[in-house]
């Protein structure tokens, strides 16, 4: 088995090939954040709509490798419907997980758990993180 199989899990490939919530909307009620990865050219935009302290919708678009694009899709399915506070917690947990920092294992990251394999590929951690960082930034903007 090639090392890389631990990274390219089925869940990831599924989100890559059938991305959920993809495509941006021309709608001012969404908060937008655009992040690029200078090391490899990945380029992701996240749109978040918050209503009454809840993440009502998350959209994404951009170009990049499968890890980057799929993680945007996974993110969108995980946080939609959660409260802003929960969404923040999930995001922090996810980022800590892929960066090999301590994280709360009792929180169910669902599909996003598949990205744990990325810890073995430090050069790809950024790919797996930029969509989430962009999402985090939209929450921050919303709270300002």
């Amino acid at each position: 088995m090639h090392q890389l199989e631990t990274l390219y899990r089925q869940i990831i490939m599924d989100h890559y090939k059938n991305p959920r919530n993809k495509g941006l909307l021309e709608d001012d009620s969404y908060i937008k954040e655009h992040i690029k990865n200078p090391s490899c050219g990945d380029d992701i935009t996240i749109q978040t709509r918050i209503e009454n302290g809840r993440v009502k919708d998350v959209r994404h678009d951009g170009s990049g490798c499968s890890i980057c694009c799929s993680s945007a899709s996974v993110l969108s399915t995980l946080v939609k419907g959660k409260s802003v506070e929960e969404a923040n917690t999930y995001t922090k947990n996810y980022l800590n997980m892929i960066m090999k920092q301590p994280f709360d294992e009792t929180i169910d990251l669902e599909d996003a758990l598949a990205y744990q394999g990325v810890t073995k590929f430090p050069a790809r951690v950024k790919c797996a993180s930029i969509a989430w960082k962009a999402f985090e930034a939209t929450l921050k903007k919303a709270s300002e």
Partner: protein, 401 residues
Amino acid sequence: MMQGRKKDFPILNKQPLVYLDTAASSLTPNAVINKLNEYYKDYPVNVHRGVYKLSYQATEAYHAARQTIADFINASFDEVIFTRGASSALNLVALSYGEQYINAGDEIIVSELEHHSHILPWQQIAKRKNAKLVYIPLSKEGRITVEAFQSVLSNRTKVVALTYVSNVMGYITPIKEIIEIAHQKGAVVSVDAAQAAPHMQLDVKALNCDFLAFSAHKMFGPTGVGILYGKSALLQAMPPVEYGGDMNDNVDLYDGDWKDAPYKFEAGTPPIAEAIGFAEAVRYIQSVGFDAIIKHEQGLRKQAIEGLEAIDGITVYNKEAETGIINFNLDGVHPHDVVSFFDEDHIALRAGHHCAQLLIKWLKVPATLRASFYIYNDASDIETFIDSAKRARSFFSEIGF
């Protein structure tokens, strides 16, 4: 024949590594590392300014380095400016020559093969000066041809800024002919030789180029240094860009005057160790010889192209290139995904736009993979690379790409 060279590179004796990213940076041989150590251990002091023996020794070594590099490209001592690297050197041409001589309505000829470091400085000058940036239409293969150049050359052409060897396609520009034709119109030609200097003999007199730039780190040398060659008369007539220690003669309260070139372009403490190490890298190249380098790289290239062509679902974008650069993709797989596969097989190659977005856009792909060769690669490296490419192709097909 070149196999013996692997032993000169510490990293190749430390870990399994097939290094195919020379076009980004070459590996560093012991000779250069030792030379850097010599400076830091034996005469680690400033140049020009001291009149004690150690400083004299450092100054002589720094001077000798400039002479070595001048000789390497058949230039004179005064025509070689040490810079931070090729990017800085190419910017110097735009910021000094361009700033001084480009006027509204003038035309600057460039190409989509240019590295960002040779296109962005001229874009900016064109914008600031209301000059026109004119692109040479590339051939179907993606080449700069003399004919296409002639089709855009005009009486308004003031500067021609072209790469000698494309860092993505590996094509050699017919630069000598272009320079001759450009000069007939009175245009000056700036040559980006970052990918040429490591792999072929340069002769600035024979080329008759006006400016030419390259970096040490792509040709066995240290980081932090490169050179700009400029014709003496042009350099003398150009204003400095940076001002400060060592580049001036007299300084008064409200004005100063400058030394002659090259010094007027070297403000402050120069990259001393780096220049000395650069000269050692040049000697290392000379000890191998360009004939041997070219023959070796051609052989590896042929082997690699044949190997890749035998694999279904791989597209090579520059099959007919003359130099050791291969630009390709696994169909339907983003190159950043592929590169991790190679990485796990201890093969280092590059994925992305290679600082040449215009060409990537011209190719109409999001990004590409690039393998590039140098003398420390051998046939077994290429076998490993081809074998890995095969397995990568199957792997990505199987998981559904």
